[in-house]
């Protein structure tokens, strides 16, 4: 039984060491960057540009307000360099839980940053739902840096 306990102790120590290594390998504190744009900013202009910096290994949450002028935004964002950021989620935020104060409805996209570099994230409104207006385009110029 003593030998069995020694073997058990060694295996547990190895397991914990490997587990700690797997947590540390490529790890960085996941910082969150939030970008919020009100629907009023899209009024009268078909193209809107914002800039943001984000940390490598972090998460970017982009929230766009939507109104009758913008219509609904497309769920999948176009990313110019998918090696820098990658979209992970998209969700529609209902009026009960508005992410932007004063907004009737908003949509949120989540991206994870993969490596340092620059990229643009482009989101267009659904042409059919924009009340016959010209589709709106939102572009986010992103610079991902190592922090």
């Amino acid at each position: 039984m003593r030998a069995r306990l020694i073997v058990m102790g060694i295996l547990i120590a190895v397991l914990l060491a490997i587990g700690a290594f797997s947590l540390a390998l490529g790890a960085s504190v996941p910082e969150r960057t939030s970008v919020r744009v009100k629907s009023s900013q899209f009024a009268g202009q078909p193209f809107t540009l914002e800039q943001a910096d984000a940390a490598k290994g972090g998460v970017i949450t982009l929230t766009l307000g939507s109104s009758s002028a913008t219509g609904r935004w497309q769920e999948i964002a176009e990313v110019s360099d998918p090696n820098v950021v990658e979209q992970t989620h998209n969700k529609l935020l209902l009026p009960e839980a508005p992410a932007i104060s004063g907004e009737q409805q908003s949509q949120s996209w989540t991206f994870r940053t993969l490596k340092e570099g620059s990229t643009t994230v482009r989101i267009q409104s659904e042409p059919a739902q924009a009340g016959g207006q010209e589709p709106r385009t939102f572009e986010l110029a992103l610079v991902v840096v190592k922090k």
């Binding site: 397991l15 947590l23 969150r32 949450t61 990658e86």
Partner: protein
């Protein structure tokens, strides 16, 4: 007539003897899987994450590795975790004498099968649409986080066997309790939308793996020992 019967009986006994030896070999292989499985799985996950560019183990979930480079290895990992848990449930079978222990064994088996489901139904792919497989994957994760701590709590009295049985039982309760605390932490992260799910998942897995290792090593060779005694007696 008796001259014909004697070899027939002898052949039957020989076949039974060989069948037991095969059974012993299989139980040995099972014990090897339960003892080596958790370490092999951790090593395999390190290998998979080292292949994936931009993978942050504190942020990214284990399931998301399926969509990266070498994602097939992570799918294989899910199957291996399932097989290891099923093998552990089989290893503990002689101890499942009470009703609670049998439910515990079943909960462990359900957890193992759920990992197989995770392998069959991958999580939502980045930039991809929400699929039925992704929904099944998400629901299965909830099944695992409920059934694994439950299995630890229900099996704790059953593993109180032998000289260090008290320790095995106490550790089973501690694993179940830590699992429940980590799940509560996961619910908090979900509400706060904090990007720390990778770390939480890894701690949950490590908690489970350590318990599996302790139980596997403590009870490894039990069936082999009993079988060898029986074979020695027969021969």
């Amino acid at each position: 007539m008796s001259a014909i019967q004697l070899p027939a009986r002898s052949i039957t006994r020989r076949l039974a003897f060989d069948a037991r030896r095969v059974g012993l070999l299989l139980s040995g292989a099972r014990d090897l899987l339960t003892v080596c499985g958790p370490i092999a799985l951790e090593l395999s996950m390190i290998l998979t994450q080292s292949w994936q560019q931009g993978y942050n183990p504190l942020r990214d979930t284990i399931s998301s590795m399926v969509w990266g480079q070498g994602g097939w290895l992570q799918t294989a990992n899910f199957f291996l975790i399932g097989a290891t848990l099923a093998a552990l449930a089989s290893q503990l079978r002689p101890l499942l004498t009470s009703r609670a222990a049998r439910w515990g064994g079943l909960a462990l088996l359900v957890t193992g099968l759920s990992f197989v489901v995770l392998g069959v139904c991958p999580t939502q792919s980045p930039e991809g649409p929400k699929t039925i497989q992704a929904i099944v994957h998400g629901v299965t994760v909830y099944v695992i986080v409920f059934f694994f701590p439950l299995a630890c709590f229900l099996l704790a009295p059953a593993v109180r066997v032998g000289r260090f049985g008290q320790f095995a039982a106490a550790y089973s309760y501690a694993t179940g309790a830590l699992g429940a605390v980590l799940i509560a932490g996961g619910a908090f992260l979900m509400v706060k939308e904090a990007p720390w799910f990778g770390m939480l998942e890894r701690l949950l897995l490590l908690n489970g793996f350590v318990w599996m290792e302790i139980v596997a090593v403590y009870f490894a060779g039990g069936a082999a020992h009993r079988g060898m005694e029986a074979l020695r007696y027969e021969s």
